[in-house]
Every structure is written in C-alpha cells, then in structure tokens.
Symmetry: C2
Subunit: 469 residues, 2 copies
C-alpha cells in the first residue's frame, strides 16, 4: 500500500499536465474555484485531474501506478459517507468531462452515457422521447451516473424499478492495473460468464473507475399526481401502500413516509400548513402516481382516500390541485437541508428494513435513544415502500466518540438479524466502515477484503474506502 | 488443479456416507434410478451427494478440498450448455433436499427459499397470496431456484422484470474454501460494500454453491389474456410491442416472436390451424397481458388490433377465447422439443441483441447460413421484447467440427459489436466457452480468469465450466 501522506513524486504533476493538457490538471487557485460539494475534505488532495476520455483515464491510472500515487475518483461530490474525501499526495480524478449523452435509442429503450453525465441531463434527454431512466433522487442536478453506479444509488423509485444496479445494462471501466474492461451490452439478458460490471457497481471507486454505462429506459407517464395522507401508524402506512400498488390503471411512483417530528420541522421551516391534514397524526405518507393524461389521476386518489378512511377513520388526506402544490408537498420531504440547518452536523443514518420489521425497529430505536438522553428524538423519514429509513438525530454534531458509538449501537444492532442493511443507499465510504464490520456476515467481510487485495494489491484505488487501509 | 480423471481417493465414499447418511450418497443402482435430465453426461461422475443443510454442504466442500475431489453442483438438470456434466473422480452435489419454501411475507413481498426449491413450488406458494416471483420459463416444474441463480435465468418476463439477478434480494452460499457467506437481506436497497451475491449469480457453480436465497415478489394480476398476431416484418413486431407496452390499465407480461419456419414446424406437429391467422406472414407475435378481472382484457386486445391493422393492413390476429385456447397458443411457442424431434441434436443458439439490431442481424444470419449450405434455414423464435433470440438450425447434429465452427462464426461474429450477447439466458457451461472467448472483451475475460484463480485456486468448483481447466 502506498504511503499517501507523502507529497506527490517529483515530475508527476508535469507528466499529468503533459497527458491531459495543462488546463485539465487543476491546483492552487484553479482548484480553489472548484465546489468541494457536500464534504469540505473532498478537495484536500490538492490536485484535480479532468481527463476527457476513457483512454486518458487508463493512461492516468498507469501513470499513478508507476508513481505509486493513489487515485480518488469523484463525480458530483454529493456523497454523504466520505467516499470521495482526498488527502495530500493523492490524485483526485473527476469524471465531469465525460458527460456526453452519447446514444439514446427510443425503440430499444437504452441510453449510453459518459460517467460524468448528471442524472438530470439523462432524464431530460429521455423525456424528449417520452422515456425516463427509472431512477430519481433529490441531487439529480449534480449527481453523476458514474457516482450513482459506484454507490449503487437508490432514491424514490427503487421500490418499483430497483436500484442503480438494476438499471445498468452495460458498463465500461478502467481497472486498477490500467486495463479497460468494456462490456457495453445494451440487452437485459446476458448469461455470459461472471457479470463483472456488478463488482464495479457499488464498489465506490475502490476496484476501478467507471467511465461509461448503458442504462435501461422506461415509459414516462403522461401525467402524475401527488397526495399527502396523515395516518395512525406504520402499519396503516404499509397497508395504504399496498392499496396504492393495486390501484387499477395507475402506476405508483413514490411512497415517502415522514414521521411527525420530521414533518413538524420541515413544515414549520417552510411555513406550510393545510387544514385538510390532521397535524396530530404520528406519521404521514406522500404518494405520487402516474398514468394517462385524461384527468383520471385525482379521481383515483379520491377513490383510494375513501377506502383509506373506511379502514382508518382518523386518516386525513390532501390531493394536490396544481403542480405548485405538488412541488410544495415534495419540498416537505426533500428539503432535508432544513434539518441540518436546525441541527448542524447532526448524526444521520440510512438503514433499510423489511417492511414487517419497520414498526418494531422504530419503536425500539426511539425508546433506546430516549434512554440514552431524554432529549433525543429521531427525525425519521424515507422511502417506506422499500423499507429505507433516513434517521437524523435532533442534536448538533459531531457527538463525542463514546456517545456516538452508543447511538450507532442503537441504530445498527439488529438490522442484520432483521434482514435489513446498515447502509441502504448512501454506501460505506469512510464513515460507515465500523457499522459494516459490526453488522456484516464474517464470510462476506472476508470475501470483500480478499477481492480488494486481489484486484488492487497496491491499494491505489480510493484507499480507505469500504476496506480499511 | 486436481486431476479428476483419477478415481476417488480411498475412504472418500465412506467419509461421505458418514457425513450425510448412507442413503444420501447414491452410487450404482441407486444412481441409475436418478433422471440425468437434459444431458446424459450429467451423472457420469458416478457418485451423487444429497446434503440436507447448508452446514452439510460446507462440511462436504471441506471434505472434497482435503481429498482433492472436485464438485459439480446440480439443481434441476435442465441446463442446456453442459454446465453440470460430471466425470468419474468428481462428486456430484444435488441441492434437491434443500427445497423448502421457508418464509413468505406477503406485506414485504419476499420469499426465502432453499436452493433446491423448484420455480413452480415458489410460484404456487406466492400465488396463494396473490403474488408471483416475476420470472417464468417453460422448465418451471424442474428448474430449481439455485440453478436459476447460478445461470442467471431469464425467461418470458425478463423484458419487464429483469432476469434472475434482478429478482434476488439475499443469498447464502458455500464458498470454495468451505466458508459460508450469508447475506440474506430482504431489502432491495443495500449499498453495504461489494455486493458479492452478484458474483455468485451467473457463476454456474464455479465460485461456490448457492444454498439459499431471498426473492422479491410482485402482484399477480387477477386475469390474463393471450393473442397471436401475424405481422409483415420484425419492425412491425417491435412497433406492436411498443403499442402493447403503452396499453392503458394493462400490463404486458409476454411478447414472444416466432418466425414463419418455426411456427410452421410446431403448428404442423401439433395439428394447429386457425383461419384468423394468415399463415403466409413472415413473423408472428404472441402477446400476453394481465389486468383486472372485469372482462376488459379481450377488449383491450381488440383496440390494440384495430390500431395494428390501421398501421399494417396485412396483419392478422387471434384473441384466445378460452384458457384452453390460451394454452394452445403458448404450446406453439413453448413446445420446442418438437424441433429436436424433427432434427435430433440440432445446433442451437441463444443470443440477445438490442432491438434496433435484430432485423439486420437476422437477415445477415439467414443469408450467410444459406451461403454455407443451400438447405440451411434457421428456426428462430424467442423473447423479442428483450431481444433474446433462440435459433435452431434445421439439421440433425452434431455437425462436423469445421462446419460447426463456420456456423458459429455466422451466429456470433458481430453480436458484441451490435451490443448483444452470445449467451442470453442459457449460460456458458462447457459448450459456450469458445464463443465467449471469441466475442468477449479481453479485459473482461482476463478479469473472469483472475477471479476464478483467486477464489478457487485449486479449481475444485465445477472445473471446466466458464473457465477452461
């Protein structure tokens, strides 16, 4: 493993500028002008390479191997677990110049894109053909396809369409030894030997650099509608999701839950209120549906609401009457910056649980957090149709280490036993290695380390991420 | 690598019987009573182990390592590419006793099953809750979940639901070193380090033995309907599939194409005819839809047919009026044994192509086969919505090697350039290693061999499959 605390070797920067052109290797003032994204340490490496082609990335990886310099790949810098943090002596590699939407075929419903293309650019290209990539998340304008592949991103449509892994048909990557693996099939069916793109998907840049991908596209519905329900329990929310999944002629596109403390915070910060919603309910469900452009969607919601009220007489509900109102409702859920405004550096978690375990898990977590500190009240929200809960603690961070360990123990202790995951969609990065080690199967952990050592024996690809240095 | 031409080491059989109980190690007459499945060489190994638990499989793998005996895992023995062929000196390991449907949760829509459970047993368990595993193939009664995972099975719903890989939430496997990797999450969202279940999926038993899995379930529609269309061209078929995908309130569940020579053969063998279908059309499309049990499905097909005839005046169509007629239409497509009856041992292929490439590819293949031999006429059928073509040559096999090589060159030469795959859903086995080597990316091939050598350095797990011995 290289000692990346050392400065870059003599001549390395000149070789880099010769390879990419001087303007594509940023240091000092040029680097200071770059947005570090959601983690101030992302650009600590001090030198940023902006290759423009797969061949340039392959040459760059070879250059780094010869010099013993490790590589930190970066996409949109929207990661939340420190997976793209860099240190002096490392080379930061941005894929932002590989941002082309290269080829979109509306009949075969595929699109081939560079790793640096943003999700939004792909969504816009697809929408021009009445199609969509079938995955969506709040950071769509910044998150890149390469970054979403490397972290196996999830988002609001995963319960329906799967996660990033399920949307990828083909992949091209530069491996740690500098070779290019090009597997750009555009078909869903391939049983053609080990499907090694799945080793790169979710590897967070530790096994190579994703350079290009083929994504599956789906039909974009002609119209959509949004509703918010106030409900008496997690069980009620899950039952309403089941009902919504079976609405005839309508596709459920989003089913986001907000526990009362979370909605109270965002609603107050945004000055939102609506008399139709009973604000004393313990939990709220934001539903989005898609279908034909014939005005039938609000009526479908009304029918659903009638069934819901029959089943849960205390339920309240609101169907958005305009796209402005739709946006307002979504903002209550998506504007999570408001929470960090209220509690800067608040400890946050991203777990997933089978639906049958959610209610019991949340009750245990709330009780045990309260036992740790009577003021602790978790702000819980997330993608309930796939069991993905985001949990933010109502206190500023960072907590002192022993206290944080106690909180983590509460959050993670039983997620594996319950059939869930300590990291649903944010990845492992540098921040979640301890919970991974604490909650994962020993056979899986050993195999992860074996694969890393076998494919990147010198530890040059994003060292310290997923596997400890 | 072990020399598996040697007989089993002295004492091995006794150790095996001591481990599993004597009745769970079959040789001689007991083995002769076992159905070898679709390849007579499957049971050539001469000794069949029937472990009943994951722990027994782990102990068995350790026993084999100590003795230097290689292991050939088998599920339903329905594989088509020689992936479970065994030789004397090897141990055949059947998962058939791990056949429990262990846990089905209708709210979270997951089912946990042993590797030896048949697809049909899982379909029946799910149907009792109005659910389905979302994958289907003609060998459902025999194919096991473990075998379908190991070959990354596809089938008729893959265009809609993805292949086996996309249906698996959790996996347990015994690795080549005898350790158990248990990753039985029941959630779709997990970004928790390398997702190594995807290394086992499609590995055809060469990296370990799948013992247990968690599958996603979907809503089973209340009703279904089937129609057959005669159409003027591949382009017409693809356009009708697009129209069918956009039918309001209806889910497309199958879109199977049959070129005229294939339908002529199965229709004649089954004595099928129907005046509604113009039998001079060059290609036929079998559509299956699902939806509400309100009688609206046939009407939906009639509306579709009106649009189709407007667009293609020569089109003909038939909507099944009974479940008996539905089964008849499906038999035309699924009873492929009829082809092998007519041409025993006929060379057969299983490629996938992006939809935009299908027409051009088929035209080239037909022309070049005719140039090789004026009597060659491929029988083509398959899952056109995902671009998966099955091609059987109209001659008995095997061909002599040079001729077979010339035929393979015609079939495989450009599948990679076109963005397709030389093996869509049957796997590589022993039969498709040459086309894999001829058509795959060199970086991918090198990584496949590296992974195999790294995880199974002694080459004890299904040697000679995917990677040459």
């Amino acid at each position: 493993m290289s000692d990346t605390a050392l400065p870059l070797p003599a001549g390395f920067e000149d070789q880099l500028r010769a390879l990419l052109g001087s303007s594509n290797a940023k240091t000092d003032d040029a680097l200071a002008a770059v947005d570090p994204g959601w983690n101030a340490d992302n650009l600590k490496g001090g030198i940023l390479a902006l290759p423009g082609t797969t061949d340039e990335i392959a040459a760059l990886v070879c250059l780094c191997r010869e010099a013993g310099v490790s590589v930190v790949p970066q996409g949109g810098r929207t990661g939340l677990v420190g997976g793209s943090v860099s240190r002096p002596g490392q080379l930061i590699l941005s894929t932002q110049r590989l941002n082309a939407v290269e080829r979109l075929n509306p009949i075969e419903r595929t699109v081939t894109v560079g790793a640096g293309a943003t999700l939004q650019s792909v969504q816009e290209a697809a929408a021009r053909h009445g199609l969509e990539p079938g995955i969506d998340l709040p950071s769509r304008g910044t998150a890149t396809i390469g970054g979403m592949i490397s972290t196996n991103a999830g988002g609001i449509m995963a319960f329906r369409n799967g996660v990033m892994r399920h949307r990828i048909l083909g992949l091209e990557a530069v491996l740690p030894d500098g070779t290019v693996m090009s597997d750009l099939t555009r078909v869903v069916k391939t049983a053609a030997g080990y499907d090694l793109k799945h080793l790169l998907i979710g590897a967070e840049g530790t096994l190579g650099i994703v350079t290009r991908a083929v994504l599956k596209l789906d039909t974009l519905p002609q119209a959509s509608a949004t509703a918010l329900f106030g409900l008496p329990s997690v069980e009620a929310v899950l039952e309403v999701i089941q009902l919504a999944l079976r609405m005839p002629g309508v596709d459920l596109r989003g089913a986001e839950a907000m526990w009362k403390p979370f909605l109270d915070l965002t609603a107050e910060a945004l000055g939102w209120r609506d008399a139709a919603i009973d604000r004393s309910a313990p939990i709220y469900l934001l539903l989005s549906i898609g279908g034909a452009e014939d005005g039938s969607l609000p009526a479908a919601f009304e029918t659903l609401f009638e069934t819901v009220v029959e089943r849960f007489p205390d339920a309240s509900g609101l169907i958005a009457q305009s796209s402005r109102q739709e946006r307002e409702l979504w903002r209550l859920r998506e504007d999570t910056d408001l929470v960090y405004h209220a509690y800067p550096g608040a400890p946050s978690f991203d777990v997933s649980l089978p639906q049958s375990e959610i209610s019991d898990y949340v009750e245990r977590v709330e009780t045990e957090l309260k036992a740790l500190d009577g003021a602790f009240e978790p702000l819980i929200f997330g993608h309930l149709a796939d069991g993905n809960l985001h949990v933010i603690l109502n206190c500023s961070g960072p907590l002192e280490p022993a206290r944080m360990a106690a909180v983590e123990d509460v959050l993670y202790r039983d997620v594996k036993r319950r059939g869930g995951s300590f990291s649903a969609e944010h990845g492992v990065g540098t921040k979640r290695i301890s919970p991974m080690e604490a909650t994962s199967d020993s056979g899986k952990l050993a195999l992860i380390r074996h694969i890393k050592a076998s494919l990147d024996p010198e530890g040059l690809m994003n060292p310290g991420v997923i596997v400890r240095r």
